[in-house]
Amino acid sequence: MNFIESDEQLMLRESVAKIASKYGHSYYVEKAKNNEKPVELWNELATNGYLGVNMPSEFGGGGMGIYELAIVLEETAAQGCPLLMLVVSPAICAPIINQFGTSELKNEFLPRFATGELIMAFAITEPDAGSNSHNLSVTATKDGEVYRLNGTKYFISGVDEAEAILVVTRTSVDESTKKGRLSLFVVDTNSKGLDRQILPVEITAPEKQFTLYFDNVEVPASRLIGTEGDGLKQVFQGLNPERIMVSAMAIGAGRYALAKASQYARDRRVWDVPIGSHQGLSHPLAIAKINLELASLMAKKAAWLYDNSMDAAEAANMAKYSAAEAAIQALDQAIQTHGGLGISTEVGLADFWGSVRLMRTAPVSREMILNFVASHSLDLPKSY
């Protein structure tokens, strides 16, 4: 048992933090407001090999795990610039392709995931399916050497910066259970018949959300991941890393908020003492710090379990739940600590609210996690 990160992990943290601190939250907000992408930050991290830390070394990656990738995301978030596409591209898409894809698919995509050159979006959510992934309506029908995709996806992040999308489809229905049999495809973003529409959200982030319309989109059969109908198992492979990464992003955002709040509470004097000496402000910040540290421990446990090929589902769910709640609490208290300034653009806290609050809902809602823990960890009857 050891709770001390290795020298390599600490150096990775330090290096990513140094790079991200050159950019900072104002860079991130400016990119979001100008409809631009954080390309410079992404590229600088990519050049140093930090975006492919979890890719196998035979494909040019760092040969480490989701733990190290989570460090990269946490440290960018802690500087106020969380790179959302790190959750999607190297954490969900790449491991699915690595574990289930043909060697052609691996050779085509993994080396470019490793360099950070390739950004791939992930499309699972649909207007009518919600959290019920069995009930997907986007279909893929085999037609000779190709599959034809039809249907609608929404809340798909970063499609405008992605070269391709990993799309979850239904290829058939299990007659006995009436559940859809899922299959995953790598679909080029510029495919004919694939239209996208921006889905406006109240989040200040460079990454945009999209609705995708598939109208008979032709995808070569060679772009099918693994065996047709095996998609559910593949999706589950991507979900734990997603939760671990979102936890890291939340913890980083929470650290960002608490750092600002404690700095302000030390410096700001009303009457003759710093406001941080009042327990009305110091205690809530201390509680937020405790909850953030607890969430961080659980996220590290989940990453460790995943990297050691053990069942990480329970830990990843608990980490995501607690990290999102801790981040929301930290940001809320940081805003409160700043008084009216907490809402100002200059301080750079209130603009984070949409992103941080979203983590209670996405990628899996607080309630679905509680359902999982109730039935899985406590053996309570399922409600659905």
Partner: protein
């Protein structure tokens, strides 16, 4: 082009330093980090070795208790190996004792060029580099902002108050590098993962052929008698503008010979 870069491992300047009340010197018991001002020398050494198309950077450092944590960053940046002089007898070394140990260690690497920072962030004497040059019998050029290798000599742009001097100097030589002249690279992930595999040769005082009486507190000619707090800075002169303020500002600049 084999370059030795001297790297000092110092207590983290971000944490408040503690003084030893017996010796009036800085306590160095905790975790040490690489002096940030050395990262410029490391970067310049790496660039010169790369431009020469061969050769490598060797780090030379001196620290208590075999401490290497401050060397790992420079190894991760791309230095090939390190020589660490570590011996309890070195405790209490002044600049000259340090220079004696460093120069012996440097000569083992047989370098074409030795790079050092102009001064360390914890000691600030700025004297060690020239002492090292003297002990090695080599020329020294200080305050380099640019180094160009030309066969068996180097051309150095040497920062001065007025601008810079161009100095040509035969190799091998000791050159001190000012901060901010190159952008030190971040260790890439491969570098981070490889750093631990790189050799760090640990040497004692006797390995270097020195006698313990020549180094450490026994070899030091310097003694710190007292530490006193620096005088508080005097408040500046406040100029209130009643239509004549510009004249006062001009006079002030003239006094400073700025205009």
């Amino acid at each position: 082009m084999n370059v030795v870069v001297c790297v000092k491992q110092i207590p983290d300047p971000a944490t408040p330093g503690e003084m030893d009340s017996q010796t009036n010197t800085l306590k160095r018991d905790g975790k040490l980090i690489m002096d940030d001002s050395d990262s410029y020398g490391v970067e310049m050494g790496l660039q010169l070795a790369e431009q020469a198309g061969g050769g490598e950077v060797t780090l030379v450092s001196m620290a208590q208790d075999g401490e290497t944590s401050g060397l790992r960053t420079a190894l991760a940046m791309g230095a090939a190996k390190a020589i660490l002089v570590s011996d309890p007898a070195l405790k209490g070394s002044d600049a000259l004792s340090t220079a004696k140990a460093l120069s012996k260690a440097i000569s083992r690497a047989n370098p074409d060029l030795i790079l050092m920072a102009t001064e360390s962030t914890d000691g600030y004497t700025g004297t060690t580099p020239v002492q090292v040059a003297e002990l090695l019998g080599l020329p020294s050029v200080t305050f380099a902002k640019k180094i160009t290798v030309d066969g068996s000599s180097i051309k150095v742009e040497r920062q001065t108050e007025a601008g810079y001097d161009e100095v040509t100097c035969p190799l091998p030589a000791v050159v001190t590098v000012t901060a901010g002249v190159v952008e030190p690279r971040y260790p890439n992930f491969k570098g981070i993962m490889d750093a631990k595999k790189k050799p760090v040769e640990e040497l004692t005082v006797s390995d270097l052929g020195l006698d313990v009486s020549e180094v450490g507190s026994s070899g030091s000619r310097q003694e710190v008698f007292e530490i006193v707090a620096a005088d508080a800075r005097q408040a500046g002169e406040k100029v209130v503008d009643e239509g004549e303020a510009h004249q006062k500002v001009i006079e002030f600049f003239e006094q400073l010979k700025l205009i």
